[in-house]
Amino acid sequence: MPESARLSIRPAAPDRLVVVSQEHPFHLPSHAEARVYVRIPLFVRVVASGSGSDELVLADVPSIVLSDTWWGTFTEGELAYWLTTTARSEVSDDLFLPHVAMCPFRFANRSEDALPVERFAVRVPHLTLFADGARMWTDEVRVRYAAAVEGSEIGFGGRAPAESPGAERVAPPRVPVRRRFHARTFGRLLGF
């Protein structure tokens, strides 16, 4: 390897959508909002870079191997990761680990019925990663549910979250994101 080449290890968001299975499901009343925090296991990237601007990703491995799941219907959908965790209403120092990033969620229920939050999809490849010392954050995800056929309206903050405004951007989204789009975010798929 030439002397000018460098190897660096960087965090990255998972490469697929993550389905969060709530350990403690809750219901969001009609026209209510909630802000929760979900810990997302990160990937580790080994990147080789030379004197130029080109970079080569040598490895892109998960820090935790997550199970596969299917997000969609029986006839269409996408392969996703399954994550059983708790969406917390508050964060504390002990929740931060080197291999996870805290993802702030803002749910808004604009429908006329209560929204059961049992499983929801996190469009992880669109997340931007930030670091505040040893704490890893993602930008805020805003989900507006209106019982629409096309799914919930999803938006990404793109900036460091309000909880850590001075956090430094360490990784861009794997997949560049539009400002807002609609996608299925809640639900479950029965197996029989």
């Binding site: 389905v19 299975s21 191997v65 199970s67 596969d68 799941t69 299917w70 997000w71 969609g72 029986f74 006839t75 269409e76 959908g77 392969l79 399954w82 499983r119 479950r188 798929l189 029965l190 197996g191 029989f192």
Partner: protein, 300 residues
């Protein structure tokens, strides 16, 4: 000059034969024109058919592209043949006259082919399968290689080619195995009647949960199907993406064998009692005598 005279002059000029080369009295003008038509027309026809197939494939799908290309090709061949015949001086009038009678005869003779062509159009419109899908037609399992004008060609897993007329496909039940992105693998599991059914169900679900190819959702299921002749019969259903079907079918069953052995769960085998009729009593007596002798020797 009167109008009528002018029209008559134009008509006579149009009907006059064109300049021809003469080679020992043989007129080769029409022959040259025929050769030119063929020399230019045939490559051009191939190019147009190929372009049509590519364009339709890009804008619709591969299947429609294949059929469109073939239709353009056959149409072009027909036009070329008619043009060639006209250039060579053959009059098409008698042909057209005979076409009516020929049409009836051809109609009777080709009703199956026409039915297949029309069935092919229905298959294109309905799209029960596309090229590369894995389908089962009356027990014949294979990948769709091509969807042609009158038939569909499949490649079986042991590399045989199966040709199925389109009419057969329209009239039969066709199972498209790869239409949807996920698929459930069903495994029949039999355990001894002495086992604890709830414990068996729990273990089977654990095996499915630990298999990396198994999807968390849709969740795996275990169904206690029936009491068999010598066993309790369970169905374990595990979901996976299409590409992992064979791998998970192997790994799940291997996992079941391994775990059952570790847990001491018996996979029963059928037992049979043989009856030799009148000889049964004699055989029983001989076996008992041998056993008695054997135990007598051990004691002694």
């Amino acid at each position: 000059m009167s109008v009528l005279a002018s029209v008559r002059l134009i008509q006579e000029a149009a009907e006059a034969p064109g300049p021809t080369l003469s080679l020992d009295g043989l007129s080769v003008g029409p022959l040259v024109r025929t050769l030119v038509v063929v020399a230019i027309g045939v490559p051009l026809l191939y190019l147009v058919a190929k372009w049509t197939r590519r364009w339709v494939s890009q804008h619709m799908n591969l299947q429609a592209g294949l059929v469109a290309g073939k239709l353009v090709f056959y149409l072009g061949v027909t036009i070329l043949v008619i043009s060639t015949l006209r250039e060579m001086g053959f009059s098409l009038a008698p042909l057209l006259g005979a076409a009516g009678v020929l049409g009836i005869a051809l109609g009777f003779a080709s009703q199956t082919s026409v039915s297949n062509v029309i069935s092919g159009l229905f298959l294109i419109a309905e799209r029960p399968f596309v090229v590369d899908d894995l389908i089962d037609v009356g027990g014949v399992l294979g990948r769709v290689m091509s969807i042609d004008t009158i038939s569909v060609q499949l490649r079986t897993f042991d590399n045989r080619m199966v040709r199925i007329p389109n009419e057969t496909l329209v009239k039969s039940q066709v199972i498209n195995i790869t239409r949807f992105p996920i698929r459930r693998v069903d495994v029949q599991v039999r355990v001894s009647l002495r086992e604890d059914a709830a414990r068996v169900r729990h273990i089977l679900l654990e095996i499915a949960d630990k298999n990396p190819l198994s999807l968390m959702e849709p969740k795996p299921i275990v169904v206690f199907e029936r009491f068999g002749e010598y066993s309790m019969d369970f169905l374990l259903g595990v979901w996976t993406v299409q590409g992992n079907y064979l791998a998970i079918k192997n790994s799940i069953q291997e996992g079941i064998k391994e775990r059952f052995e570790a847990e001491g769960i018996e996979i029963p085998v059928p037992r049979r009692t043989l009856d030799f009729g009148r000889e049964t009593a004699r055989l029983e007596a001989e076996l008992l005598e041998e056993e008695r002798r054997g135990s007598g020797e051990e004691a002694g």
